[in-house]
């Protein structure tokens, strides 16, 4: 299992299929024949990680057909969410396909290549982050199921205690009560928020890369957790992760992971030492080939 490749390879045909759980078309009301998925993000993940299917080979037509068939069956109750999810899936597929179809520059130096990747990095970061939250959601279920086994006492006072009936209703008139009833019973109006207001996390991979190139030689060895301990947002952590992958590809660091989901170990390597490390089989990545 412990392979001999020095870097995280760009294509790793031997990697086992990693999707732990396949959920069958729950959120999106329709099911596409081959890749069964849940929601646009999962579909996307499935498509881009499935080695049997290249993005280029996924025809859009069956996806559309399946969706239209579903739509015909549930014309009345098809939720807006479902429609928008479908649009998103279709748009992402189109984007992926167009990216693949357009010819890329033959030879680019690393810097230019990195700049070109920024957009993709954001998407990738988002995918990774969503994956992490999906994992966290599973953990919430486990935690809450465990917590639910303990039932709290919510009985309150025994009889016979003198509660010096403070007038908790001081200042509450009939109107206030009527307003409270309205608040409690009325369907609350939901303000529409313009998506343009979104504040986007703006750390870029290339900036982080530069920062890491300055920091890492001083650290020598580091664990991913230590390296990212000071970061405030999850996005920054993910961007650091992506930057490390780039550094790995550039041969500046060796990444190792003792076990799946174990902490990532990072080692800064000078060119000569890198070769030595490879020669000694010091690589720990879990890849074949």
């Amino acid at each position: 299992m412990v392979g001999g490749a020095a870097r995280i390879p760009r294509r790793c045909p031997g990697v086992r299929h990693h999707r732990g759980r396949v959920r069958y078309g729950r959120a999106v009301g329709y099911v596409v024949a081959t890749p069964v998925f849940e929601g646009p993000v999962d579909l996307l993940l499935h498509l881009v990680t499935s080695h049997e299917v290249d993005v280029l080979d996924v025809p859009l037509a069956p996806v559309v057909d399946a969706f239209l068939a579903e739509l015909a069956g549930h014309r009345d109750e098809m939720a807006l969410d479902t429609l928008s999810e479908f649009l998103l899936v279709a748009a992402i597929l189109l984007e992926l396909k167009s990216q693949r179809l357009l010819p890329g520059p033959d030879q680019v130096d690393d810097e230019e290549e990195l700049v070109g990747w920024e957009e993709r990095d954001l998407l990738l970061g988002r995918l990774l982050e969503c994956r992490a939250y999906a994992g966290a959601a599973d953990a919430f279920v486990v935690l809450s199921e465990r917590a639910a086994r303990s039932v709290p006492r919510e009985v309150g006072l025994d009889d016979g205690f003198v509660v010096h009936a403070p007038d908790l209703l001081a200042g509450v008139g009939p109107e206030v009560l009527a307003q409270a009833y309205l608040r409690a019973s009325a369907e609350r109006p939901e303000p529409q928020v313009d998506l343009a207001h979104v504040t986007v996390d703006t750390v870029t991979v290339s900036e982080t890369l530069v920062e890491l190139v300055e920091r890492l030689p001083r650290w020598g060895r580091a664990s991913f957790r230590d390296l990212t301990a000071h970061l405030a947002t999850r996005m920054e952590v993910i961007v650091h992760f992506l930057a490390l992958l780039e550094l790995c590809k550039l041969g500046k660091v060796v990444l190792g992971q003792g076990e799946t989901f174990g902490d990532l170990r990072i080692e800064w390597v000078e060119e000569e030492r890198l070769l030595a490390a490879v020669g000694a089989g010091g690589l720990v990545s879990e890849y074949d080939g």
């Binding site: 039932v151 709290p152 006492r153 919510e154 009985v155 309150g156 006072l157 025994d158 205690f161 003198v162 509660v163 010096h164 009936a165 403070p166 007038d167 908790l168 209703l169 001081a170 200042g171 509450v172 008139g173 009939p174 109107e175 206030v176 009560l177 009527a178 307003q179 409270a180 009833y181 309205l182 608040r183 409690a184 019973s185 109006p189 303000p191 529409q192 928020v193 313009d194 343009a196 207001h197 979104v198 504040t199 986007v200 703006t202």
Partner: protein
């Protein structure tokens, strides 16, 4: 079931019981003879007393329940009265409003409307004398139905409950609603991403 298992199960069940639980019901629940359950409860009660716990297991109205040791009443009262200066929380006020306008109403009905468990709030309102049980619903479980009390009317300066203002009076008119909606609509023109 060993004696220890029985004691533990009794402690757990009695901890969450709101009303005193008759030994017969406990026996049925734990599938043990009533005599054995009764004896176990008495052993527990004696044990708490002997160990000088802050709570006791009392037999009240034919059932067992946890309550505070009489010695500690001053602390309990201080705790219960800690919010003398406080007003009702929003949650409590909204629950009270639901009871006032929808009475008679069950806890489950209030809970449904508010989307959260309201047991604690209902109990608080009942303890403060603003609401009281006024009957039981028909059907499964026969849940207790609550209504407001005379104290509630008095505090609100009302003579009769039908003097509560009709809620329709407070619904915004159509033009106000339209205006509100307008104000919430995203502004046209590129706002761009806020940094």
């Amino acid at each position: 079931m060993t004696d220890e298992e029985l004691s533990r199960a009794l402690e757990a069940v009695l901890l969450v019981a709101v009303e005193p639980v008759p030994p017969g019901l406990l026996a049925e629940l734990l599938e043990e003879p009533a005599e054995r359950v009764d004896a176990a409860c008495q052993r527990l009660a004696e044990g708490y007393l002997a160990a000088g716990r802050g709570f006791v297991l009392a037999k009240v109205a034919g059932g067992y329940r946890f309550q505070t040791h009489p010695d500690l009443a001053p602390y309990v009262e201080r705790f219960a009265n800690r919010d003398v200066s406080h007003r009702l929380s929003t949650a409590a006020l909204e629950t009270l409003a639901i009871v006032a306008y929808r009475q008679p109403v069950s806890r489950a009905q209030i809970s449904n409307l508010r989307g959260v468990n309201v047991d604690g709030v209902v109990r608080l309102l009942e303890q403060r004398g603003y609401i009281e049980a006024v009957g039981r619903a028909e059907g499964p479980g026969q849940p207790v139905l609550y209504g407001t009390t005379d104290l509630f009317l008095e505090r609100l300066g009302l003579d009769r409950i039908d003097q509560l203002p009709p809620v329709e009076d407070f619904l915004p008119g159509a033009e106000v609603a339209a205006e509100l909606e307008e104000g919430l609509r995203p502004t046209a023109g590129g706002v761009g991403d806020a940094g």
